[in-house]
């Protein structure tokens, strides 16, 4: 069987989702870790230095390319799977089991993913764009990302959008984390609890850190 046949099969498509998903999960650790430098409360000195390092180091720049490939593959494959899968039952059931047989978030990965995508567009416009404009259009001038965050999160609607975005991400991760391992074929009574609990711990830490950022700025702690 060719690789093309493999990756267009139903199992291969899910493998793409699992591998890119785990890659994005690893990215979130770096993202949340770097951003947590704002909590040092040194008026963004450390945070801006970290941001400058990450946007200028060539290894990170290379990984950034991989990140964009991964995120596009995850989004496009995910949306295609959503469309294809919902066409597999032309006549719907009159009565549905609700949450009796599965968790609502496991059935809503497409919807949650779309909410995250909408949030991501807003998020990239807010922070990614400014960094890149400063780097390329304004001759690589120093860019105060910390001040930009401070400015952005003064607005309550912005804070609410960010909190909703992170909540969507959280539900997506709760299912996605352990689901990725299942798709990769890792399922054993010895490790299932470990994987599931690691997923919960990971999701809670990532989401609490990300939610604290807009809250901290809005509340004026930073």
């Amino acid at each position: 069987m060719t690789w093309k046949e493999y990756f267009t099969s139903s199992v291969g498509k899910k493998l793409v989702m699992a591998i890119t998903g785990l890659f994005l999960i690893s990215f979130l650790i770096v993202h949340a870790g770097a951003n947590s430098c704002i909590f040092l409360n040194d008026n963004g000195e450390t945070y801006n230095a970290v941001a400058r390092f990450l946007s200028h180091n060539w290894i990170v720049r290379f990984l950034e390319l991989g990140l964009f490939v991964g995120i596009f593959a995850h989004i496009i494959q995910g949306l295609m799977l959503w469309r294809q899968n919902s066409a597999k039952r032309p006549v719907k059931y009159a009565v549905n089991p609700g949450n009796a047989t599965s968790k609502w978030y496991s059935r809503s990965m497409g919807l949650l993913g779309t909410l995250i995508l909408l949030f991501l567009i807003i998020h990239l416009k807010d922070f990614f764009l400014g960094t890149k404009v400063a780097m390329y259009a304004h001759g690589d001038e120093p860019h105060n990302l910390f001040a930009e965050m401070q400015e952005e999160f003064k607005e309550l609607p912005v804070v609410i959008i960010y909190l909703l975005g992170v909540i969507s991400l959280g539900w997506h991760l709760i299912h996605g984390f352990s689901s990725a391992f299942q798709t990769l074929g890792v399922n054993s009574p010895k490790y299932n609890n470990l994987i599931r609990n690691a997923g919960y711990v990971y999701t809670v830490i990532i989401c609490v850190l990300f939610m604290l950022m807009p809250i901290a700025f809005y509340a004026g702690w930073l």
Binding site: M1, S10, V11, K88, R89, Y93, V95, P97, S102, S179
Partner: protein, 252 residues
């Protein structure tokens, strides 16, 4: 167990043939013993319909002891009804209460077209099985059973997977109408045993190819199949299928 007779309102899917759009019809099932099975309740209803000169409700059934996998009914939003690890024929009327409205639908999936009323065409499963769910045996003397040592854990896991009766509840319960639990059980029962070893890789590739061709969806790991399976087949088999498929792809 307390025995009593109950009356039910049935909302049953009626569909003349696979061209018909189909609709729900309401019937009263009266004086139903709580000791009856769900299928026996339908027998009572059908006898009444025949006496009244109406068309009886067509439904699939065969062994009525929970091992043939024919009785495919989607009852009140649940494949094989509200009980776990049970086929429709083993579901007893004590699961329902007096005056309850019970909605009965056929399995719904593009790959399982309705033939009539509650009867669906599950030959897609047969074709998946025929694509690789077998062991080729050259005729000759039977080999001594003890000639092939088999690890107890593998034998148990293979046996648990082989308990699949191909009823299609996994497809019916899955939001994507995915046949992964069925296919994974069939792949697992052979891949775990030495007899299945020679055809291990071609088997999984061919069975997945056939599964996709039949129009089943992709697995999104909600676990609804495992929750509804009357034989309680584990989704650990799906993980094994994913491993087998990847391993076969790398080496073939």
């Amino acid at each position: 167990m307390e025995h009593k007779n109950i009356n039910l309102n049935l909302k049953v899917w009626r569909q003349k043939n696979n061209q018909d759009a189909g609709h729900f019809e309401t019937y009263k099932a009266e004086n139903i013993s709580t000791e009856m099975s769900f299928l026996e309740m339908f027998d009572v209803l059908n006898e009444k319909l025949i006496k009244e000169g109406q068309e009886p409700v067509a439904f699939d059934h065969d062994c009525r002891e929970g091992i043939c996998g024919m009785c495919s009914m989607y009852i009140n939003g649940r494949a094989h009804g509200p009980w776990q690890g049970t086929t429709t024929c083993q579901l007893h009327m004590r699961a329902f209460s007096e005056g309850e409205t019970v909605t009965v639908e056929p399995w719904r999936a593009g790959a399982f077209p309705v033939i009539k009323d509650l009867v669906v065409d599950r030959s897609a499963f047969d074709r998946i099985q025929q694509a690789g769910g077998y062991v080729s045996v050259n005729t000759g003397n039977a080999v001594d059973g003890n000639a092939l040592p088999i690890n107890k854990d593998n034998a148990d896991a293979a046996f648990a997977a082989a308990a699949c009766i191909g009823c299609g509840a996994c497809v019916a319960a899955c939001k994507n109408s995915s046949a992964m639990l069925f296919t994974s059980a069939k792949v697992s029962q052979y891949s775990l045993l030495p007899q299945g070893e020679p055809e291990r890789k071609t088997r999984v590739l061919n069975m997945i190819a056939q599964m996709d061709k039949e129009g089943f969806g992709a697995c999104t790991n909600t676990g609804a199949c495992e929750a509804e399976c009357p034989k309680e087949i584990s989704i650990a088999n799906i993980a094994r299928l994913n491993r087998e498929y990847l391993a076969a792809q790398f080496s073939l």
